[in-house]
């Protein structure tokens, strides 16, 4: 079975083929080479991974489409999808910054400032809204150049995590 994995901040997703090889063992093919790994699933969403005689304790934390993966103190953010999901997601956010982009609240907090109006043309990296949490103000920026087509954010209102704030198309 083929999966596509994209590291946070990189544009291209890489294909990885996986086949079960019995007793929590898997054959993985990626970048032209094949490895057999022993991946024992543990409670709380962790894996004990044995690869080329190396032992890795791997922790996972799901965050939206991405999975955060902790290996020996290093966190990576990875978006993994199979072919069917990849097709379903085309044209939406995730694997590319094409199409409509939803800017959602990254944490619970309070909208202290809305920096744009509906219909505004914005540049990539331009500030859209400012959300305050834990006594700190955070400016959320546009992931792409485009037009503000939806603006549910209201100054002075409290928002939950993942609340819709701005949509840029």
């Amino acid at each position: 079975m083929r999966y596509f994995a994209k590291l946070h901040g990189q544009k291209e997703a890489v294909p990885v083929d996986i086949e079960p090889a019995g007793d929590h063992r898997y054959k993985l093919t990626h970048a032209g080479k094949t490895v057999v790994v022993d991946a024992l699933a543990l409670e709380g969403g962790a894996l004990s991974l044995l690869m080329d005689g190396h032992s890795y304790n791997v922790e996972f934390d799901e965050a939206g489409d991405e999975v955060r993966v902790l290996v020996r103190g290093q966190w990576s953010r990875i978006d993994v999808a199979d072919e069917r999901r990849l097709r379903l997601r085309q044209g939406t956010a995730g694997f590319s910054v094409e199409g409509k982009q939803l800017i959602a609240a990254p944490m619970p907090g309070k909208v202290v400032k809305v920096l744009v109006k509906l219909g505004d043309e914005v540049k990539e990296g331009q500030g859209l809204v400012v959300v305050e949490a834990m006594k700190m103000e955070n400016e959320l920026k546009s992931p792409k150049a485009g037009k503000v087509v939806e603006l549910p954010a209201r100054e002075g209102t409290a928002v939950e995590i993942n609340a819709r704030l701005v949509v840029v198309e």
């Binding site: 890489v14 991946a39 949490a133 955070n138």
Partner: protein, 503 residues
């Protein structure tokens, strides 16, 4: 003064838990106060008694003096420990405690008054011959007057809030052209943060170290110091890593700074635990910055190398006991503390409140975790993002660094994002391991500390592991979906059925 039997801790989070731990060891009963956002907080669970003091914002709960005092009366507490922040340096609260017949565990109000307002503190220090950073000691009548003063002492200068602390209202100004806008911004920040818009000017020192001396005084006129802490690893004027001994202090300089710190404390009639902060320049000249009239976040490193419990000392001094030492102990070994914040360094240090789904704290020798959280706890949005302090001890600095890095590797927190990797990057950076890092270290190495330390082998392991994870998850989901409609589900669409079984 009588023995204290019950202490109300007027604080939350790790410091409230830390104070209560010592109280338990001393056989003293504990009382917590909590806001509506903190019903599930660890300090409430740790205490013997707990009282609700108001809504989530601290100015409506933890900062309301009458509510705290009312809780103390109801509980029959004979003393209040303020922790740090909140009411810990509020002289009017100290007076209100005295009036209510409750012992305030901290210095007298008069000492707080003398040190609380920064320009007055500078004047007091100049009077007793303590060296201060060159700068103004009087408020300015106008921005023109302030600008003229800055020109006279020469740029760069630092603007600082007289009522200040914690980096708020602080601005560095490099050029005359920038003076007016920075002056206005500093004044407005100071007014918002401290209700006082007085701002003073100091000469900006090149590459300064922030080195502070822990002092302790009893009510019998004895004052000693307990050596220094190096706190130059700062971001936005907030400390991130602290260590002791300072890698730049010679025993002679330590003795000299300690002597001056003791003199500063004595000059204001200090009692209890306090910290005298200094800037040390490249020529190893040192200048008084300010005095913190409370216990500090970074006190565990001093506890490691002195073998003392500073909270126990605070309580004993408040009971009228004499200090058990007459002079500073020689530092034993080396200690490092890192502050674990619920924030995401990869996204401009954005705060990351939320539910902690999993928490595994490191163990092993000579390691301490002062935490205010637990698995399943939701970090609220209303308070400081610091969730825990990890500190270690080792015979040498190099060993302490390795131990702290090892401990950070073991630290797992899920559900929220924490700065664990960033702290690891700081401890691995040659400027830190070299020992001569100044307060510009973190801003200067900002980019390097954020990501260039990525190990490609670990990234590959993470990538492959993520595919195995996704595969196992999909297999499990496929298995849990019934092939044919189960009993009682006839007539429900396949889509609804799938939803019911979790996709």
């Amino acid at each position: 003064m009588a023995k204290i039997r019950k202490i109300l801790v007027a604080n939350r989070g790790e410091i409230a838990v830390r104070v209560m731990r010592t109280c338990k060891e001393l056989g003293i009963a504990t009382v917590a106060v909590y806001s509506e956002a903190d019903r599930s907080a660890l300090h409430v669970r740790t205490a013997d008694q707990a009282f609700l003091v108001g809504p989530p914002p601290s100015r409506e709960s933890y900062l309301v003096q009458e509510r705290i005092l009312e809780a103390a009366r109801q509980a029959g507490a004979d003393a209040i420990h303020p922790g740090y922040g909140f009411l810990s340096e509020n002289a009017s609260f100290v007076r209100a405690c005295e009036k209510a017949g409750i012992t305030f565990i901290g210095p007298p109000a008069s000492a707080m008054d003398a040190m609380g307002e920064k320009t007055r503190a500078r004047q007091n220090m100049i009077k007793v011959g303590v060296p201060v950073v060159p700068g103004s000691t009087e408020p300015f009548a106008s921005s023109e007057e302030a600008r003229a003063y800055a020109e006279k002492i020469g740029f760069p200068v630092m603007l600082k809030a007289a009522g200040g602390g914690g980096g708020k209202g602080m601005r560095r100004v490099d050029r005359l052209e920038d003076f007016d806008s920075s002056w206005r911004a500093a004044k407005s920040e100071a007014l918002n943060a401290f209700g006082n818009d007085a701002v003073y000017i100091e000469k900006y020192l090149e590459k300064p170290h922030h080195v502070e001396i822990q002092v302790f005084a009893d009510a019998h006129g004895n004052t000693i110091h307990l050596n220094e802490r190096e706190c130059s690893a700062q971001r936005r004027h907030q400390k991130v890593v602290e260590e002791t001994p300072s890698p730049i202090l010679s025993p002679e300089l330590r003795a000299k700074m300690g002597e001056v710190a003791v003199k500063a404390a004595q000059a204001v009639g200090y009692v209890g635990a306090g910290t005298v902060e200094f800037l040390v320049d490249v020529h190893r000249n040192f200048y008084f910055l300010e005095m913190n009239t409370r216990l500090q976040v970074e006190h565990p490193v001093t506890e490691w190398v002195t073998g003392l419990d500073l909270v126990a000392w605070q309580i004993k001094v408040a009971e009228g006991e004499k200090l058990p030492l007459t002079r500073a102990p020689t530092p034993n070994g080396h200690a490092i503390e890192v502050r674990i914040y619920a924030e995401d360094p990869g996204r401009n240090f954005m705060p990351s409140p939320g539910r902690i789904t999993e928490l595994r704290v490191p163990g092993g020798p000579y390691l301490r975790d002062d935490s205010g959280v637990y698995p399943g706890y939701t970090v609220p949005n209303f308070y400081d993002p610091m969730i825990s302090k990890l500190s270690v001890w080792a015979p040498t600095r190099a060993e302490a660094i390795e131990r702290a890095k090892r401990a950070l590797d073991e630290y797992v927190v899920k559900g929220i994002t924490a700065n664990v990797r960033y702290l690891h990057a700081i401890l691995s950076h040659p400027e830190f391991t070299g020992g001569d890092y100044d307060t510009g270290f973190l801003p200067r190495q900002h980019e390097a500390l954020l990501g260039k330390t990525e190990d490609p082998q670990l990234t590959e392991a993470a990538l492959l592991a993520s595919v195995v994870y996704a595969y196992q998850r999909d297999q499990k989901r496929a298995k849990s979906l019934p092939q044919a409609p189960a009993q009682g589900e006839v007539g429900i669409s396949a889509w609804r059925r799938a939803l019911r079984h979790g996709r």
